[in-house]
């Protein structure tokens, strides 16, 4: 059912309302997510996750002041949002953004202004790494990179005994494109054949021509590395074409809006499994459900962990000195919903992927894959 998403207003208590704790420093954090435009729903999920973490921290007496800005999934808007947060509101930390096209210009500004940035879901390597291979000191991400997930997906397909695959991806979305390319490479290296490797664009709704090719190629698996909304639409048409191959996806599938009966028998890699018995996971899922009345999706989960990582790094540093916080974050040992995380030298998280299987209209935990 439709998630009832709260507005930011519900989640943000009046800043500065609480008495400053400890040394009295208020940590100002900016949050940039798309709150208008067609990526809004992803932005809201991310924000929900972040806000949950922030409130938990506040309840523990951590003095944090969060300011939300709309990045509209757009470079210019993202830049404006970031310059406003940094120069006008004087935040020292930014969580966000969601789309790589927002996160990239923000990361440049963050680096210039020594503002610590952690993006929950942007997978574009250039967010944390400069073209010359040097790392952006102040920029981190909470999600795993495309190569890892691509490899995981390909390995899973192999494990299922597939030899012939189709990969459908969105050229206009670099996350999807990245996953598709790495999955292809990895699957072919493992001796498989990618019979159909076809692109579509963000706004396509009719996939009949591509799917004719898929049907014609008689594949064992179809990789659909897109987000749940697109996958729902494609899966529907896959079914109508009478194609029965197993569908495999990435963390973009993780959503309560995924149409499970269409994906029956499919698998996807995810950051965590709701069935994971650890407290942190169970509490997160339970609290999220009570607060927002829906299951958390991957955006919410990553948003939650990103905020938690930031807060932990600040607490470890114990000051508002962003250089120190960035150093602490680079060396962090964080244990959260999406597993035990530390950062590699390129500020990408090292963590396990959970494989989720869809059967009987339910998701169930299949196994963990470590990098």
């Amino acid at each position: 059912g439709p998630a009832v998403a709260p507005t930011a207003g519900d989640a943000t208590k009046a800043p500065g309302g609480e008495a400053p704790a400890g040394d009295g420093t208020v940590y100002k954090v900016g949050l940039i997510v798309p709150l208008s435009g067609d990526a809004k729903t992803f932005g809201i999920s991310t924000m929900n996750g972040v806000m949950m973490a922030v409130e938990e921290a506040k309840a523990e007496g951590f003095n944090i002041d969060i300011l939300v800005e709309d990045g509209k999934c757009d470079a210019q808007e993202g830049t404006n949002a970031a310059t406003k947060l940094i120069t006008q509101d004087k935040v020292h930390y930014i969580i966000g953004a969601v789309c790589s096209s927002e996160s990239l210009p923000v990361s440049v500004l963050a680096e210039q202004n020594k503002v610590v940035q952690i993006t929950p879901p942007s997978t574009n390597p250039a967010v944390t790494v400069n073209e010359d291979g040097t790392v952006k000191q102040y920029v981190f991400r909470a999600c795993f990179l495309d190569p890892f997930q691509g490899v995981v997906m390909a390995a899973l397909a192999k494990e299922l005994g597939a030899t012939k695959a189709a990969i459908l991806y969105d050229v206009s979305n670099d996350y999807v494109k990245g996953l598709a390319e790495y999955a292809k490479e990895s699957f072919e290296q493992g001796g498989g054949e990618v019979a159909v490797f076809e692109a579509y664009t963000k706004n396509d709704t009719d996939f009949s021509a591509i799917l004719s090719k898929v049907a014609d190629a008689n594949v064992d698996v179809i990789f659909l590395p897109d987000y749940y909304n697109k996958v729902n639409l494609i899966a529907q048409q896959i079914k109508e074409k009478g194609i029965t191959a197993t569908m495999i996806g990435g963390d973009g599938w993780d959503s309560s809006d995924l149409e499970l009966d269409l994906m029956e028998g499919g698998y996807f890699s995810n950051h965590y499994s709701p069935q994971d018995p650890r407290d942190v996971v169970q509490n997160f899922v339970k609290n999220y459900q009570t607060k927002y009345n829906s299951m958390p999706d991957s955006f919410a989960t990553l948003g939650y962990d990103a905020a938690k990582i930031l807060i932990q790094a600040i607490q470890e540093a114990g000051t508002d000195d962003t250089t120190l916080v960035a150093q602490k974050m680079a060396a962090i040992q964080y244990s959260g919903v999406t597993g035990d995380i530390s950062f590699d030298e390129q500020h990408n998280p090292i963590k396990k992927a959970a494989i989720i299987k869809i059967s009987g209209g339910q998701t169930e935990f299949f196994k963990f894959v470590a990098p």
């Binding site: 439709p2 998630a3 009832v4 998403a5 709260p6 507005t7 208008s36 435009g37 067609d38 809004k40 729903t41 809201i44 050229v171 076809e198 692109a199 579509y200 664009t201 706004n203 396509d204 709704t205 009719d206 009949s208 021509a209 591509i210 004719s212 090719k213 014609d216 749940y228 909304n229 729902n232 639409l233 529907q236 109508e240 074409k241 009478g242 809006d257 149409e259």
Partner: protein
């Protein structure tokens, strides 16, 4: 200059060129069919046809309004979206059937569109045409962003529950679903109805007269406000029906769903000759076929389907500046 000796060799060359060209064409078609088999080829044609009819359904509404008030009604695609959403709520929340859902969508769209006309276009009737266009863009933005608010439709991508089951028939190896049949039937029926209204009824003639010279039309005793309202009403009804059928064909709805099909359909209408009802359908079918055939047969086709579609549009314009069925622009000097 005596050039007659050139005749025979030139003629031979000409025939050779013709023969070569014909061979290339025949071979090309043969290769297309052979590429993945005849079934694949004809299935592609069929899929293109279906997509074309979906575009046609939307294009009819655009071209209708454009033909009468010369306004590119950018808000049309958002009215279309509202139609899809209202039927969604009727079907999922109240379990309505397809027919009442379509009727509801049409009614909602008519009310909405007439309200828009009253508020955003009517005050601009004597202003430059572009002002109304900007107003339409404003309305379009408003509808998209307003309905995306939490307490309206929200920003989620909703899966549209079809009120009936999909049946896929297999005819000679080609799969045809009942959805395709419904879309084709509804589009053709609406086309016939519109053609009848515009060309045969008094109201239709009044519409055409209004579009050509509003002042003169008033002097004939035509209440042009009523005619324009009616035009927007019909346009909205078409948008409503199209919204529901589109959502049934591609069962997912969100508040920005209208933009791309709207743009494609509008361009298809222009391709066919804007303001021309039959042209809208023809242009749409062409557009659908181009897209699907490009994806099916051109290398990297799925990446460049829009590019190919628009290149074809531009080429058609260069050959026929007013679209396929558009009347040539005559100006008596």
């Amino acid at each position: 200059m005596r050039l007659t000796w050139l005749r025979t060799p030139l003629r031979i060359i000409a025939w050779m060129v013709y023969a070569a060209l014909s061979l290339v064409i025949v071979y090309g078609v043969y290769r297309l069919i052979q590429f993945k088999g005849a079934t694949y080829f004809f299935q592609a044609l069929l899929d293109g046809l279906r997509l074309g009819f979906v575009y046609a359904l939307i294009a009819l509404g655009y071209t209708m309004v454009y033909g009468i008030v010369r306004l590119i009604n950018f808000a049309h695609c958002d009215v279309f979206m509202v139609g899809a959403f209202s039927s969604y709520y009727a079907i999922t929340s109240y379990g309505w059937g397809i027919v009442p859902a379509i009727i509801l969508a049409m009614v909602v769209c008519i009310v909405l569109n007439i309200a828009i006309e009253r508020m955003a276009y009517k005050p601009l009737r004597n202003a430059p045409r572009i002002t109304a266009l900007i107003s339409a863009i404003g309305v379009s933005f408003f509808l998209e962003y307003f309905t995306a608010l939490r307490f309206v439709f929200g920003a989620d991508f909703l899966t549209y529950k079809r009120p009936f089951d999909v049946v896929v028939w297999n005819v000679l190896g080609l799969s045809i679903s009942n959805i395709t049949v419904i879309i084709v039937a509804v589009t053709l029926a609406l086309l016939a109805l519109l053609l009848y209204i515009i060309n045969r009824t008094k109201v239709g003639k009044a519409m055409r007269a209004t579009s050509q010279d509003a002042t003169a039309a008033r002097l004939m005793g035509i209440d042009i406000d009523r005619i324009i309202t009616l035009t927007f009403g019909i346009g909205a009804a078409l948008a409503g029906a199209a919204g529901v059928l589109y959502a049934i064909a591609f069962p997912q709805i969100w508040t920005f769903m209208g933009i791309m099909p709207g743009l494609k359909a509008f361009i298809a209408a222009v391709l066919g000759g804007i303001g021309n009802i039959a042209g809208a359908v023809l242009g749409s079918l062409l557009m659908g076929e181009i897209e699907v055939l490009t994806v099916s047969f051109v290398p990297f086709g799925s990446r460049i389907r829009d590019l190919v579609a628009f290149l074809v549009l531009i080429i058609v314009f260069l050959v026929k500046p007013t679209g396929i069925l558009g009347e040539p622009q005559v100006e008596k000097v």
